[in-house]
């Protein structure tokens, strides 16, 4: 056996992965370039806004309230080890706004939205609806991808803001009902402590995550393989890719925003 073959075996998947990254980047570039060129499809944008933003509110709210509640319990228990139980409001607030609000909200949206976009566009691809759009002089990128990507980029920060508030409310509820905190004092501590950038950084993260979720949903859907199996694979790939990209970009953004 030649010495090159193990290297080749290693090199091939790496090359394939790089090629995939390149294709996604080209797709993203094309989508963004269409953002600024007419025609614009307002009705599709509004539908996407409702689908992605409004209809995701329950799942994001539920995620946030339980997370905020659990966070309060953990910080109280952890803080008690060095007599720092009093930091619960501050840590819940900063934990929700900077990390858990955007990341968990983003992951829930990835599960809900990346999958549904990929399945819908994948089905359109395998039933030739995307080809049909082209023959009807409508650019599928403009008509299908751009409204969804724009809607997700704008809607997810709003979802994050709502999630932050509900998460903090969850922490407050647990703190006053289970941990003997005083209601007004808890809220005052939270408000005094939070700075604009704690919230702002989370909203920026939300916009990036929303973009990534819709991008992966559209890319995987529009490049779906053939048949039901192709759509299934595209849906799975969209959720996995969106989730991993959210976690990786969250780390990078945190480095950029907060490392000294």
């Amino acid at each position: 056996m030649s010495i090159a073959s193990p290297l080749a075996a290693l090199g091939r998947p790496v090359l394939r992965a790089l090629a995939a990254v390149g294709r996604v980047a080209l797709f993203a570039g094309e989508a963004v370039s269409h953002l600024f060129r007419p025609p614009f499809y307002g009705r599709e944008f509004l539908t996407a806004l409702i689908q992605i933003g409004w209809l995701s509110l329950p799942v994001v709210g539920l995620t946030a309230i339980f997370t905020g509640g659990a966070l309060a319990l953990q910080i109280y228990a952890g803080g008690a080890r060095f007599n720092a139980e009093a930091v619960v409001p501050q840590i819940v607030a900063i934990g929700m706004t900077r990390e858990l609000g955007p990341v968990l909200g983003g992951l829930m949206v990835a599960a809900r939205v990346a999958s549904s976009i990929a399945a819908e566009l994948g089905t359109m691809k395998v039933t030739e609806q995307i080809d049909a759009l082209t023959t009807l002089s409508t650019n599928p990128m403009k008509y299908l991808a751009v409204p969804r990507i724009l809607a997700a980029t704008l809607a997810v920060p709003v979802l994050v803001a709502v999630g932050d508030s509900i998460g903090i409310a969850g922490g407050w509820l647990v703190a006053i009902s289970r941990l003997d905190f005083n209601s007004a004092g808890y809220l005052k501590n939270t408000l005094d402590f939070l700075q604009f950038w704690d919230i702002g950084s989370g909203l920026v993260k939300g916009a990036v995550f929303g973009f990534l979720v819709a991008l992966m949903g559209c890319y995987m859907g529009m490049t779906s393989g053939r048949g039901a199996q192709g759509v299934g694979a595209a849906t799975k790939a969209a959720v996995v890719a969106a989730s991993v990209l959210i976690l990786a970009s969250n780390y990078l953004l945190t480095e950029v925003f907060f490392s000294a």
Partner: protein
Amino acid sequence: MIELSGVHKAFGDNRVLRGVDLVIPKGQSMVVIGGSGTGKSVLLKSVLGLVRPDLGTITLDGVDVTKGDRDAFLARFGMLFQGGALFDSLRVWENVAFRLLRGHQKRPKTEARAIAVEKLRRVGLKPEVADLYPAELSGGMQKRVGLARAIAAEPEIIFFDEPTTGLDPIMSGVINELIREIVVEMGATAMTITHDMSSVRAIADRVAMLHQGVIQWTGPVSEMDATPDPYVQQFIHGRADGPIESVR
């Protein structure tokens, strides 16, 4: 006039088109026949640029279809896809009027709807169907809605991929007549794929048979029955034995 010369297309190891040469004269009805899986749909899609040929050229009125203004090019075409390819998020009339509701051919909603209802009538569908969603229709009805959408903007060139597959004989007759009318009255150029020999006789000016990636035979429909070509003879008589293998 549409002219294909030396068109090749492979998907991986599957060499589907292996040098297709074909001329579709302006204002004529060309019917493409051939076994299933021989690449007839791929051939139509190549002309429209939905499939990119590996080799060869396709021209429309002497201009390479891959060059020039793509919007203006596509505006001249109507296409009925083999599976209908209706947009399932839109109502039937919005599907039919798709081109009339946006872009260069945009017009008021009521007018677009009226045109859609009229086209639906021409493919044998009642006005009540207009407000349904595609998923609420039978396969044959979806096919006819697809046909109505293809002709809605009155294109100069129309491609029909198996327009009568899945229709009952009476409806097939209606659709055959409609396609003939479109060619004769509107002067459109049509390219139709079908397996249905009664359709071939009803709508074709010329016939081309695709087999093993090339045009095996082409000629006026009047010469089809008399041609000695064994492939054509086997196909039009539906015989199991002959040069075309029945296991493909």
